[in-house]
Symmetry: C2
Subunit: 387 residues, 2 copies
């Protein structure tokens, strides 16, 4: 029987709750009418709560990468110097977008699998005596490696240098702490198909007053991503062009679920799922790519064992168990596989998927005792209750 | 977060595949029009394939109990003698319905947890020299205990006695072998919310030519359940009164899935799920109510261990893990719990739910080693592949 229900453990798209799917299944409404005006106000307010911000926030009908582009073309003019911190594929992508739109990109690379070092950032910033750096680009959660950056420390490392900080929090927001205002983050972008428990297709961008000032003098060409236009329409409860209505209906319901749970609990849930996965992985004798201290709560990258390709493991998980995990990107292809544990993922589904992984490893001749890893995961369920 | 997605392990309602839910979500059509005529022909033909019958088959917008009533009022007249075999709650129910409609019910009870003995049935039948018994009522799968009757042997035990055999296969059809024509079953009733993977609300009744003859002289009052009327309308591709259209849409898709899988594979899948559950239960040191040889492929009844009420186990499974299992009925309340494994239940969900059960038992002080039961289940996954 060909079925659609999978154990979808990707770092996005993530499973979507039934009530969100149902909410999306509503008839169209006039996106220039009063119902949409109310909906727009409600969801904008709700997303701001997840962002923990009082800044302006706009919603684009686009993938997260769209909001990343918006975060460049609205704040960086051709020739502007930009410090692009990268710890993996998505850090590289942010730097590439900036370069494409004429920025003078100074790339600051750290080894894949590690965090960006705030002291190094601080050093670079303090050596920019002429204040030529206009913006610092940084990834919150690096989805290619499963490492979370210390955004608070990086924000602090900029000190009183006038550069704005632009954070790609597409896969991290909602899964881990990121209080926009408290940490002084000027521009933060995120996407719907991650902790927001929605299908892909919406992305968000928050803008601090100081970033808004910067945008007014920005000379890059833009139409679809034009912040000024988006904010003008937002005042009327509209969008400059047709919004993705179904996703707005879904966002309303997803926000209802998330705010009912409470942001603290949402973040705790993600941490718990991460801990389950890491406990299981380690007990099986596998090695996560990221150390405990810097491990993402959105996903876990796992090094495939000697002699068994990561893609073989992925294929068997999929064919035999309908468990879907992501592969490694670029130079990590077939070297790692990535288990997403964000959004609407249930702890017991993670346990089941780890049991499947154990079976697949066993059948590939990996020296493993069936049940050992999964028992450790079960124990964590017990400990959680006792705590 | 309050969510709707559960590990629904009931002996019905069972989980419904996404494509079936979607199919049900269609706009209404005219139930006296050409589209419904086609739909009606298609689904009637499809259900017959699952029944393995060329007999007439009617569909009622009703629960399975409705079709049980239809199987009485169309074939049994007040005063008719009926042999009602019972091995549990649903055998009792069938006898009660017959008595309510004036039948002279001879009850043949077997201990709960055991099968009906075909030799005993044969004895009773052979002693009825005057051929007063008009019908034998029997349950295919006894949902209250998790025992499957040997319907083939019981059918044979009637021999050339003229009594018709009426089978309640509500929870068994599709999950276990029941070739209607090959086994000479005159009337077989079933329901949508079991192996058919649909929400509750439709039930089916097949009628052999000889049962059809009987129905023509039946003197019971009936309107909603009137077979003659249903068959007359079926000829026109209609129903005597308004059909449950959404469920018909769903039935069309569910049948497409089942027939694509193939009945043999559907039955194998159910047997595999049963074996997984029984392996896990036994490895945890728990006792299934039914012996291996008579164990249902639809559900497994499990005796709660000394000192831990079955309902405590159920409550904890639900509150902590959203795992839903059924309780014991009547005198079995708090004594057993029942794990459904029929319909659209995924093997890996069964593994996850058994892991949850293990944790719950552990936390209730049951002498158990965490991981032991679940490891046995994992091993069965491996063995399956090697076989």
């Amino acid at each position: 029987m060909t079925v659609e229900q999978q154990y979808l453990l990707l770092p996005g798209p993530t499973p979507v709750p039934a009530s969100v799917l149902r909410a999306m299944n509503k008839p169209m409404i006039n996106h220039r009418g009063p119902e949409f005006r109310e909906l727009m106000a409600e969801v904008t307010d709700g997303v701001k709560k997840i962002y923990q911000t009082k800044n302006d926030l706009v919603i684009f009908p686009a993938a997260g990468t769209g909001a990343m582009e918006a975060a460049i073309v609205n704040f960086i003019s051709p020739g502007d110097k930009v410090l692009a911190i990268s710890i993996g594929v998505f850090g590289d992508r942010f730097a590439k977008i900036a370069a494409e739109f004429g920025a003078d990109v100074q790339k600051l690379d750290f080894p894949w699998g590690q965090q960006a070092d705030p002291d190094v950032v601080s050093n670079v910033i303090s050596r920019d005596k002429e204040k030529r750096i206009k913006a610092v680009l940084v990834t919150h959660n690096e989805t290619s490696t499963g490492v979370v950056n210390d955004i608070k420390a990086i924000s602090e490392s900029i000190g009183d240098h006038p550069a704005i900080i632009i954070v790609d929090a597409v896969s991290g927001l909602g899964a881990m702490e990121l209080p926009t205002d408290e940490w002084g983050l000027d521009v933060v972008v995120s996407g719907s198909q991650k902790a927001f428990m929605l299908p892909p297709g919406l992305s968000f961008m928050s803008v601090s007053p100081r970033a808004l000032e910067t945008s007014k003098n920005c000379k890059n060409h833009k139409y679809y991503w034009d912040l000024e236009s988006a904010l003008k329409y937002l005042q009327k409860g509209q969008t400059p062009y047709t919004p993705a209505l179904s996703l707005f209906f879904g966002l309303q319901e997803a926000l209802r679920l998330l705010l009912e749970e409470g942001l603290d609990n949402v973040i705790k849930r993600h941490r718990y799922c991460r801990d389950l996965v890491r406990a299981g992985i380690k007990a099986m004798g596998l090695t996560p790519m990221a150390d405990d201290a810097i491990a993402s709560c959105s996903l876990t990258s796992v090094l495939a064992p000697e002699g068994i390709g990561a893609n073989t493991i992925r294929r068997m998980l999929w064919e035999r168990f309908e468990v879907v995990v992501a592969g490694g990107q670029q130079r990590l292809d077939d070297v790692i596989f990535r288990i997403g544990h964000l959004g609407f993922v249930r702890p017991l589904d993670l346990l089941a998927s780890l049991a499947a992984l154990e079976i697949v490893l066993y059948e590939n001749g990996f020296p493993i005792k069936i049940g050992e890893g999964i028992t450790k995961v079960q124990e964590l369920f017990i400990k959680k209750e006792e705590a």
